[in-house]
């Protein structure tokens, strides 16, 4: 187990973590504002990947432009889901919203299977992104680097938006106490829509990244990453954006290092490990690493 090997694993963990972080941020954004877990979030990842495929293959748009298209598509789908499934459930108990989002997830998955068939498809990135880049003793592909940089860029943009713009502040206010925010004249509906739009756009980009990294997409690909990103959000503290970022990287690293550092016989327990971690974290640190104890958890 050389230093080079460990470095490689850490690098892989960071790349995986970047994707989890983006998806987790979406969970936290939405949860922070409407206190509902959007189970369909993982499927937005899938939609993002397919949107990318459509954009590159069908329309022939260049890669950077496609990223923008994917962001737009993700935002659009998010807003649609909010309108259709979440808005009517407002005020209902948590369970109802959860089930509604599960129903939406199933609808999206089945529509995907019916229209696109369950066959996985390959997803080709432009040649300049497949090239290898040397970073010291580490050799990564350009796409991996692009993923990490894009993720960081988006996270910084989001953080700046939330902290420095008026709209961002309004969002934070709504998340903190939406009754009072409404009294202050903030348009709650719009804030919720915005949260869904941004969160879903990020998830869609994560789908793009996932497809680019593994070069294979299928209608059910987003389910497991979505669940794991939820674990990441919980680790960081659901409702906290910076918590989601941190949680994403922690989970990505933990998952890769678990498989990487333990002997091969344990590689099959990857998912067992991830979900056990979830339970342990919830028990030991009910608010996650950076969460605030604004609602009952334990």
């Amino acid at each position: 187990m050389t230093g080079g090997y460990i470095l490689e694993q850490v690098a892989n963990g960071i790349i995986l973590g970047s994707m989890y972080a983006l998806i987790a941020i979406g969970f936290s954004l939405i949860y922070g504002i409407v206190r509902l877990i959007n189970f369909a979030h993982g499927d937005i990842v899938t939609i993002g990947a397919f949107a990318m495929l459509a954009s590159v293959a069908a329309i022939g748009a260049p890669f950077p432009v496609s990223i923008l298209i994917v962001l737009a598509v993700g935002a659009g789908v998010g807003v649609l889901i909010e309108r259709v499934a979440f808005r009517p459930m407002r005020g209902a108990p948590q369970v109802t919203g959860f089930i509604a989002s599960l129903a939406v997830a199933i609808i999206i998955e089945n529509v995907g299977i019916m229209t696109l068939s369950a066959q996985p498809r390959s997803f080709i990135v432009p040649a300049y992104l497949s090239a290898f880049i040397r970073l010291g003793s580490l050799q990564v592909r350009a796409i991996d680097l692009a993923i990490v940089l894009l993720a960081i860029l988006l996270m910084i943009a989001l953080a700046a938006f939330v902290r420095f713009t008026k709209v961002g502040m309004a969002m934070r206010a709504t998340a903190e106490n939406y009754q009072v925010a409404r009294l202050m004249g903030i348009n709650i509906d719009r804030m919720i829509m915005l949260a869904f739009a941004i969160g879903s756009a990020l998830a869609a980009v994560a789908g793009l990244m996932w497809g680019s990294k593994y070069s294979q997409i299928s209608p059910l690909m987003g389910l497991i990453p979505g669940l794991k990103a939820f674990v990441a959000a919980v680790i960081g503290g659901v409702g906290s954006i910076s918590g989601a970022m941190l949680g994403g990287y922690v989970l990505g690293l933990a998952e890769v290092l678990f498989v990487g550092l333990l002997p091969p016989e344990y590689s099959g327990y990857r998912n067992v490990f991830v979900f056990s971690t979830l339970i342990v974290i919830l028990l030991v640190m009910p608010n996650g690493l950076l969460g605030r104890s604004t609602d009952e958890r334990a």
């Binding site: 294979q216 299928s218 498989v259 998912n271």
Partner: protein, 383 residues
């Protein structure tokens, strides 16, 4: 992709068209059970069903069986759910006039459906479930249209040892699929029997996308001359890509799970290289029945057969039809007897014969070689 509206209209038209035809002779009913709408098997079950339907259509167009009776294939979707496999099979065997069943490309699903056919004395021919233990586990009505995993794994082990000169190997196994576990086990048995050495047995699970740890462990074994990565169709391309991306040039060996164009498209032309896999002997044969099949499939469905499972579905149905013809009747017991007596059914995937009371055919195994994303037939091994 047709819109849903078009499908509804098509169904309505279909129903109208069928009505007058109901006066014709009794159709011969065969049921096809496949996972069509969910899960990782849909990518091989869908083409299998297409192949079966194509064969039925060809037979019907040529005049049907037993004096003009048409074959009617009813497709039942088992939704990647064992309960649906069992209830689907129950529904199938309760249908009036059913003669036989075909289906499934996975042993676990075959185990859920086939026993119900067994109980009713109806033959069940699996197109793609390759476990050689299936007939023993289910009973006398269970037949395979494909070779057993032991045959293909042994063929690969021999090829690797004797032809490629690989004496030290690393094995990767998907622990979540019984198919891959069986394949690795049979490979290891023969390989070590020949004198080869397995340096490392590594594990992953079907949904894993990240193989970096396994790749690093592979790199840490400098004596390895090849890696046998036993995998299903959904992970094969990803594995090849990640191994090659890490700069490892060792030959990658696999089983018929690699028989999908994802193996070429996912890694891409640069990385999809130096891969050997065993599959059913239709791929790559540019002559005779294989070619005819390919063109008919293309004509009927608008694209070439996605993988060898399309041919297997075609063959499974063809085998049943042939048995019905030889038995001269649709009595299930007679059909089973005729199946057992098959000596040389000219299937697209290689002649099927059930010798010595075995219900697993001894069929040739094709060894394919991937050269810069181009898949070519390297050799055919006949056990």
């Amino acid at each position: 992709m047709k819109t849903i509206l078009a499908k509804v209209m098509a169904a309505a038209v279909g129903l109208l068209a069928v009505a007058p035809a109901a006066e014709a002779a009794d159709p011969i009913k065969i049921v096809a059970l496949y996972n069509l709408s969910a899960g990782g098997l849909a990518s091989i079950d869908g083409p299998s069903l297409n192949g079966a339907k194509l064969k039925a259509k060809e037979i019907n167009d040529a005049g049907g069986l037993l004096g003009g009776r048409t074959i009617e294939v009813t497709a039942i979707d088992t939704k990647n759910d064992l309960k649906d496999a069992a209830t689907g099979a129950k529904r199938a065997v309760s249908m009036d006039g059913i003669v036989a069943g075909v289906g499934h490309s996975d042993t676990t699903f075959a185990l859920a459906s086939a026993p119900l056919f067994q109980d009713k004395g109806l033959p069940f021919v699996t197109s793609g479930a390759t476990s050689p233990d299936l007939p023993d586990m289910v009973g006398g009505e269970m037949f395979l249209a494909c070779f057993g995993d032991d045959v293909q794994a042994h063929a690969m082990a021999e090829y690797a040892y004797k032809t490629l000169g690989v004496h030290n190997i690393v094995i990767w196994t998907d622990n979540a699929m019984d198919y891959t576990k069986g394949l690795s086990k049979y490979f290891q048995d023969r390989f070590t029997q020949l004198g080869g050495k397995v340096l490392l047995n590594d594990i992953y699970m079907t949904d894993d996308k990240d193989f970096s740890a396994l790749v690093s462990r592979l790199k840490a074994n400098p004596d390895a001359q090849a890696v046998f990565a036993s995998s299903g169709p959904d992970t094969a391309g990803i594995i090849i890509k990640q191994i090659r991306e890490a700069g490892i040039k060792l030959p990658i060996l696999g089983g018929d799970g690699y028989d999908t164009d994802l193996v070429s498209t996912v890694p891409g032309p640069d990385l999809s290289d130096d891969v050997y896999f065993t599959t059913h002997a239709y791929v790559g044969l540019d002559t005779g029945v294989a070619n005819t099949f390919r063109t008919s499939y293309q004509k009927a469905y608008g694209n070439p057969p996605e993988n060898a499972f399309a041919a297997l579905g075609y063959d499974a149905l063809g085998l049943v039809a042939d048995a019905i013809k030889r038995a001269g009747s649709t009595d299930p017991a007679a059909v089973t007897k005729a199946l057992n007596a098959t000596t040389a059914y000219p299937a697209v995937t290689g002649d099927i014969a059930f010798k010595n009371g075995s219900r697993v055919p001894s069929k040739p195994v094709a060894i394919m070689y991937v050269d810069h994303a181009k898949v070519n037939l390297k050799s055919t091994v006949t056990p």
